[in-house]
């Protein structure tokens, strides 16, 4: 599809999507910006090594999958230390209410496989079929993960006193 690499179009088309996914994951600007650059670097090296995206859709799903992968891997790195608050409102430019923060903290505690499906479905509004294509897993598997994510999240929220009002 895109044989000639146009950096301008690439950045204009995908940078905000990648950034908002990464903001949802890290809730601070610096880590999110690092992820944006890493995704594009990976994209360029993939194109240079001969990868060809057959359709726009495939390209978009690839970018979202790599973004998610890089977010998970960055947090797993042994030298990753969170030296900023859980939600760095100074840098992201918006605030969350107390109950929204509690919800975000609970989502953050989910295992990656549940968290990713949950975020893609509820925060990014992807359909089950799209998530299946992004993560390359079957639709029933997506549904199962989503159900388990909801169950686990409910437990975490109960423990955190989210429903006590």
């Amino acid at each position: 599809m895109k044989n000639k690499l146009n950096i301008d179009n690439l950045v204009n088309e995908y940078s905000d999507t990648i950034y908002s996914i990464a903001i949802g994951y890290f809730k601070n600007k610096d880590d999110a910006e690092d992820i944006v650059q890493d995704v594009f670097t990976k994209y360029i090296s993939c194109i240079k090594s001969g990868k060809n995206f057959k359709t726009e859709e495939y390209e978009k799903y690839w970018i979202i999958r790599v973004t998610m992968n890089l977010c998970c891997n960055k947090r797993k790195e042994s030298n990753y230390k969170r030296n900023v608050p859980f939600i760095d409102k100074e840098t992201i430019g918006f605030e969350f209410s107390e109950s929204e923060s509690l919800l975000l903290e609970s989502i953050d505690k989910l295992e990656d496989k549940y968290r990713i499906v949950f975020e893609l479905f509820y925060l990014r509004e992807f359909k089950i079929s799209e998530i299946s294509k992004i993560l390359k897993i079957s639709e029933p598997n997506v549904k199962t993960r989503l159900r388990r994510a909801r169950e686990k999240l409910k437990k975490l929220l109960q423990q955190g006193g989210y429903f006590d009002e």
Partner: protein, 234 residues
């Protein structure tokens, strides 16, 4: 609308409105353009360099063959001492770990053969961020021990998730050798701690690039690309 739905909607609206500043985007574009240029220049300069390199290689080959002759002469004289050193090297390399409580999933890969050595991946397991790989090594000659010296694991997106040969790699690998009665078949189990093979990694590609085999007569170092791929999901 219940509380949770309301909160999710609010979070969604806030996060989805997050955008990068135009300044950052421009800066990023410049960086990426530069990166792209550098990678293109590298390819061009590599083709020019390769011609020069060929000349250098031919001289180097001559020097190396002279050195090899000296080494062979020295080896014949001090064979016993060298064997002891290599034995120590092998015995120190292997760190044992338990695999009895790990549920291994078998993998359907074919043997890849080079220079009398056939390798395939028998099974794998992912547990607590560790990736376990079971290599099956067949040799035409009898072998006492073998050691995979260089292997690289990539995911389906070409991302290197483990590189045994890379010294600054944060991941660590330990191995466990199960010797077989049949001295032509050895099973090597490796554990890669802090593996990046997580649940969203769909497929792995393993490139074994170098292997050492030792028997009572000699030690052989074989370089080749034994490549395997298998799905980590059904």
């Amino acid at each position: 609308m219940n509380k949770m739905e309301k909160d999710i909607n609010n979070i969604k609206n806030k996060i989805n409105k997050a955008y990068l500043s135009e300044e950052y985007k421009d800066d990023l574009k410049n960086k990426l353009e530069e990166q792209l240029k550098n990678s293109e220049n590298k390819i061009n300069s590599n083709s020019i360099k390769s011609r020069k390199k060929n000349k250098v290689i031919s001289y180097t080959k001559k020097i190396l063959s002279a050195c090899a002759a000296c080494i062979i002469l020295t080896s014949c004289t001090f064979a016993d001492e060298i064997e002891d050193v290599m034995k120590n090297f092998f015995s120190n390399t292997y760190k044992e770990f338990e695999v009895s409580d790990i549920e291994l999933k078998s993998v359907d890969t074919d043997y890849v053969t080079n220079d009398g050595i056939s390798i395939k991946v028998d099974a794998y397991a992912i547990k607590d961020d560790s990736l376990y790989l079971v290599f099956n090594v067949l040799s035409e000659e009898e072998i006492d021990e073998c050691y995979i010296d260089d292997y690289v694991i990539e995911n389906e997106d070409g991302e290197v998730i483990f590189n045994l040969n890379k010294k600054n790699e944060v991941n660590t690998s330990v191995r466990n050798i199960a010797k077989n009665e049949n001295k032509k078949n050895i099973i090597i189990t490796t554990r890669i701690a802090n593996s990046k093979v997580n649940d969203i990694c769909d497929k792995v590609y393993i490139n074994v690039n170098e292997i050492y085999v030792r028997n009572s007569k000699n030690i052989k170092n074989i370089k080749y690309n034994w490549r395997f791929e298998f799905k980590t999901k059904n």
